[in-house]
Symmetry: C2
Subunit: 121 residues, 2 copies
Amino acid sequence: MSFTAINFKEKFDKFAEQWSPRVIAEMNDYQFKLAKVEGEFVWHQHSDTDEVFIVISGTLTIEFRDGKVTLQAGEMYVVPKGVEHKPIAQSECQIMLVEPKGVLNTGEETSDLTAENDVWI
Amino acid sequence: MSFTAINFKEKFDKFAEQWSPRVIAEMNDYQFKLAKVEGEFVWHQHSDTDEVFIVISGTLTIEFRDGKVTLQAGEMYVVPKGVEHKPIAQSECQIMLVEPKGVLNTGEETSDLTAENDVWI
């Protein structure tokens, strides 16, 4: 058992790739992942799970087919399972995702933006 | 479906009670809870689940029987299931907890600090 705090800034400093989530912690069968995002992601959904977005720095908009929500640092949102969504950031935004282990960033879609899963940092 | 961001500061401004977690979001069968803590909590454990602590502001120390970890704002820690722990804060600290719905703040212990469960804010 390690008695070391997990520091978000230190973890973000260790990678530069955008749209490429890095796992920083596991709680039961859930993972906490950090990602740097900029520009428009692809429309996708996760049929089996809700997905939590927490903004650490910057601004993130999540578009839905019938609305959108904009998150600043210190804000979170839960995308319900099965709901199509498209994250967008005008400039680089640092986010934390919380979701079950094994969830792909592009859900059931596969695209150039599909990232390798379960990459720890 | 609501298109409203969940703002940590706004939620913290809505309550003053310490050691009394308030639910702000649910993801599948997990809950995100905010709490204000100060002083020493009781030793306790959760036999069935890990527990995530994220510090939003202030400083939190989590003591274990064989060590301790100190968290600042922007840091997190996962207490493994079954591990006895005691949170301590020298001055008021704002934290977010992530754990399955139904987990009591004092685990399998009952004390004056046992808070009502599943209170949303």
